[in-house]
């Protein structure tokens, strides 16, 4: 058993499941957005505004944003533990990633709230 403190979940299984589930959510969101772009004839501000104003899209966007943030946290944490053997560099990198993930989440919520 190897102890880790900066990974998102504390167990390997936890991270593994989140990584896969978030990938599915992101795929669904991407496909839905692509479908909207293709099927909307006149893609103007009003159309976008209407799309993102619906509660469904707000929830779906928040879910997708959460997925991106968790997926990035887990993925970059793994990359850093593989390729950054120097402790100081790894710690700084992980701190930046975690702070950015949290900031992006808050920023995203704020944007979606304002629509």
């Amino acid at each position: 058993m190897v102890a880790t403190v900066t990974s998102l979940g504390r167990s390997g299984l936890h991270d593994w499941i989140i990584q896969r589930l978030s990938a599915v959510i992101m795929l669904a969101y991407t496909l839905y957005l692509a479908y909207f772009v293709i099927c909307t004839g006149d893609l103007n501000f009003a159309a976008w505004q209407e799309l993102f104003a619906s509660t469904f899209m707000k929830v779906f966007s928040l879910l997708a944003l959460g997925s991106v943030v968790m997926h990035a946290w887990i993925g970059l944490w793994i990359v850093s533990t593989d390729y950054m053997p120097k402790l100081a560099i790894r710690m700084i990198f992980q701190a930046i990633v975690i702070v950015m993930c949290l900031a992006l989440m808050i920023w995203g919520i704020q944007i979606l709230w304002s629509i």
């Binding site: 058993m1 190897v2 990974s7 390997g12 991270d15 793994i78 593989d82 053997p85």
Partner: protein, 232 residues
């Protein structure tokens, strides 16, 4: 046939270097790479490498052969392109020439407790298995610990102290599905961290190089399923 062999003697050499050899192979003979290495050792007696059984059972002569890990004793020269480049197994510290320090590899093997733990009441005679239960161990017990798989795995190169590696995980699964073992839950709990099992990215280098034709990636998948079943 031409050979290019990795040489390094820490007592006399500052840096490792490749030594070129030329060897006359008798027409029509198909010797194994190990026979050729022994012939090269006649040319230069300082060449050091491990070997023992010379038939792919002991797992001593694992090298990187033309860039792919394998056992020299069961690799026919006819399957190799000249010049044959032989290097020590990648990722482990070199002691001398083709001899590597396997301590880290064995430490991971030790971690998974590679022995039967049965805490139930011992039967009068012996612990019996049905033929079906025994069949589950096929493709697992044959591992000879040659380290070809683990040293071909990038995850093991980067985290040899934390990631158990394909060889150790194949053995871990061998005891996880043994019907006589009573420590399944404890064994699984020991593996449920971000490194031990989950550092495997499924690139299957281990399957590609295993001289015994085993499938560590599949065993790792089974361990993941067992962890999932326990944890969800």
């Amino acid at each position: 046939m031409k050979f290019s062999i990795y040489r390094y003697n820490p007592e006399t050499d500052k840096k490792p270097y490749m030594q070129e050899f030329d060897l006359d192979i008798p027409e029509g003979s198909d010797m194994m790479l190990l026979d050729a290495l022994l012939a090269l050792k006649d040319q230069d007696a300082t060449l050091a490498f491990r070997r023992s059984c010379r038939e792919g059972v002991c797992g001593s002569d694992g090298f990187s052969i033309n860039g792919k890990n394998g056992l020299a004793c069961i690799t026919p020269l006819s399957s190799l392109k000249s010049p044959v480049v032989v290097r020590p197994l990648p990722g482990l510290p070199v002691i001398r020439d083709l001899v590597v320090d396997m301590a880290q590899f064995y430490k991971q093997y030790e971690k998974i407790k590679p022995f039967l733990i049965a805490n139930d009441e011992p039967p009068a005679k012996e612990r019996l298995q049905s033929p079906e239960e025994r069949a589950k161990l096929d493709g697992l017990y044959e591992c000879i610990l040659c380290a070809c798989c683990s040293t071909s795995c990038p995850s093991f190169w980067w985290n040899p102290d934390k990631f158990v590696g394909p060889s150790g995980l194949l053995q871990a699964y061998r005891f996880l599905i043994d019907s006589r073992d009573t420590q399944t839950d404890e064994r699984l709990a020991d593996l449920d961290d971000a490194y031990s099992v989950f550092r495997c990215r499924g690139i299957m280098n281990c399957v590609d190089v295993c001289p015994k034709g085993l499938n560590p990636t599949q065993a790792i998948g089974h361990i993941r399923s067992m962890l999932l079943k326990n944890g969800v």
